[in-house]
Symmetry: none
Subunit: 193 residues, 4 copies
DNA sequence: TTATAAACGAGACGGTACGTCTTGTCTTATG
DNA sequence: CATAAGACAAGACGTACCGTCTCGTTTATAA
């Protein structure tokens, strides 16, 4: 049994770590500057003081790079605080989501993945995983309130925000977020009756 | 002052029309076969019995081609019938939307646009226009019922479907559609109180 | 039946001719300057005001390029005059051969071919063809004298010169040439007895 | 004064010896299998159970490796017996030479050296040395006969064989060898008159 | 017998070249 | 004389080797 994929650099090696972090930082910059389509390995290599070959060693596929960019979205934008009042928590969550999608780096990487997900199962998987992550993150914030969301609920809340941001291209206003939250809460209360 | 854009072929010329339609048909096939990223002018020219030059004349930019593909989505998938019962109409509409996004041609082109919309105002505009089109289409279907939707409403309904289809990558089940519709109706009725 | 090899540029096209001649000239220069091993398509492209892609179109393989360099050895070094006296003609021929192998361009290309001929039948063929060419050229020079050489004779004459030039790396002196010629003539006369 | 070249492994160390011999054996195999151009350090390292680094330690340059391969041509092909009759001895010698050049390992290495000798004085030297070696070896075989060859004589005999083998690419037949030998003997006798 | 020096394995890295692909422009011959 | 065929420049792709550089580990020799 030969090794199918040639083994990516060992992250416990500090040199490797250094290289990787530096490149990811530059990648984020470039993603914001030139967009995902123009984020070529050629460009990244010359801006990142690194050889193209090194990029391939770390991220055999451009998609792998995008994943790392999204997952370790280096802006340190933190999630809001957990809390007892669902409406407050959810609203704060959607605000933070909106903020996370404002910077063109993460948003660009996300759409790049989405664009190829229909043909690239790995990209599709990654998207699913990311969604699930964010879903669980919200549930953790909601824990003190005793409320938990299903995937359906999550789609119901986040979908409208995403739709405005990426498809209909209308600004995601505070009002729009409020609408989404209150609609969901209303219908939920009604359903509970 | 030189002419910035060299004038695209005159659509009233039947020969032009023929060429254009033939190419668009092939483009749709290829879009389904190989995906938007692999839909190159080179490939399209050889499959479409046309010179690359001709493609450039018709669609100076790849994005222009994608727009035409989306707008004239040739599958003949028709909208549902208008009707008096909002719930029925809306549900039928979402079903047809889901169906339209099942074929990988339109969906692929759509995401390709979305991926570059952050950097390409024209793509962004196109997306906005398309969204608005579909929004108005729904409103036309709803006319008999006397009900009309705001952009907010539309996002609230369509967003969750899109989110599942393109981001969280869960199947868009009938149940999910029902949930979206009933939530929206419920909250609406509650708001009307 | 698909076209296996993508068809090389049409030499009757003047643009093609121009490009080709320019590149071959530069190739000869570089061959002399840096040797056959360092004559990369990359280097050739940048010195020749030409894209790498263009080089590949003209000479799909580096060997094809070397062949053209050898066959159209542009130095215009002419063969000597035909004549009645075999000894004079043959000696003159070997002098011109030596001169042709002095310039590092042709000699380098020749050895490059020889080095890969054991594994590359095309290279082997090319070498055989070139040898045969030179053999016939000599016979043409000898026609007035009524004498003709077999392949054996040719090897007997040219071999020692090649050996000194490429293997034993001794200078090919006038004396060495005289020895080769007179040995061959002597033994020939002896054999005729 | 820093040490220009980092000192190659000490051959008196048995571990070194082991490594070296093992690698050379593999190198010979590979040379026959894939030819000199494809005998990369990468390939050699993985086939030879050895790191690339180790190869560089032993043979700082690929050429140094080829020299070792040629000089210690491990096939154990022995020279023929010395004897009194020059014709017999010389013929036997040329047969053994032909045999030595039949196996693609030595022949390939030899031409690889020849191809770079014009630009690499070390390669040129090595070739000269090797030639001289073989020349002296023949003279040793001829000692019982009282006959000795000059470098000129040697070139006159060996050149035609080499030429057929490497340049004109005709088979080196027994007849060709006989011709070479008898021509040389004839002219020699004639010259002695 | 244990240091100590050398050889070695493992593998990251900056380079350079490869052969291929698509793009947009430009040239040429032809119908 | 307008247009197809296709040559070309530009530049990214993914891969292969190269030569160099750590850093641990093993082996051999010498104290």
């Amino acid at each position: 049994m030969t090794d199918a994929s040639p083994a990516r650099p060992n992250l416990s090696n500090p040199r490797v770590r250094r290289t990787r972090d530096r490149v990811l930082a530059v990648a984020r910059e470039l993603l914001a500057d030139v967009g995902p389509a123009a984020l070529t390995y050629s460009l990244l290599s010359e801006r990142g003081q690194v050889t193209r070959q090194t990029l391939y060693r770390h991220w055999p596929t451009r998609e792998a790079l995008l994943v790392d960019v999204i997952l370790e979205s280096g802006d340190g934008s933190t999630y809001p605080e957990p809390g007892n009042d669902p409406q407050t928590v959810i609203t704060a969550y959607l605000h933070s989501l909106r903020h996370g999608l404002d910077g063109p780096a993460t948003a660009g990487a996300l759409m790049a993945l989405a664009a190829q997900a229909d043909r690239d199962p790995e990209a599709a998987n990654t998207l699913a995983t990311i969604s699930e992550d964010r879903h669980q993150a919200l549930n953790r914030l909601l824990e003190p309130s005793g409320l938990q969301m299903t995937a359906d609920d999550f789609a119901q809340l986040v979908g409208p925000v995403m739709f405005r941001r990426f498809i209909s291209r209308q600004p995601v206003t505070d009002a729009a977020i409020d609408t989404a939250v209150s609609q969901w809460l209303t219908s939920r209360r009604a359903g509970a009756d």
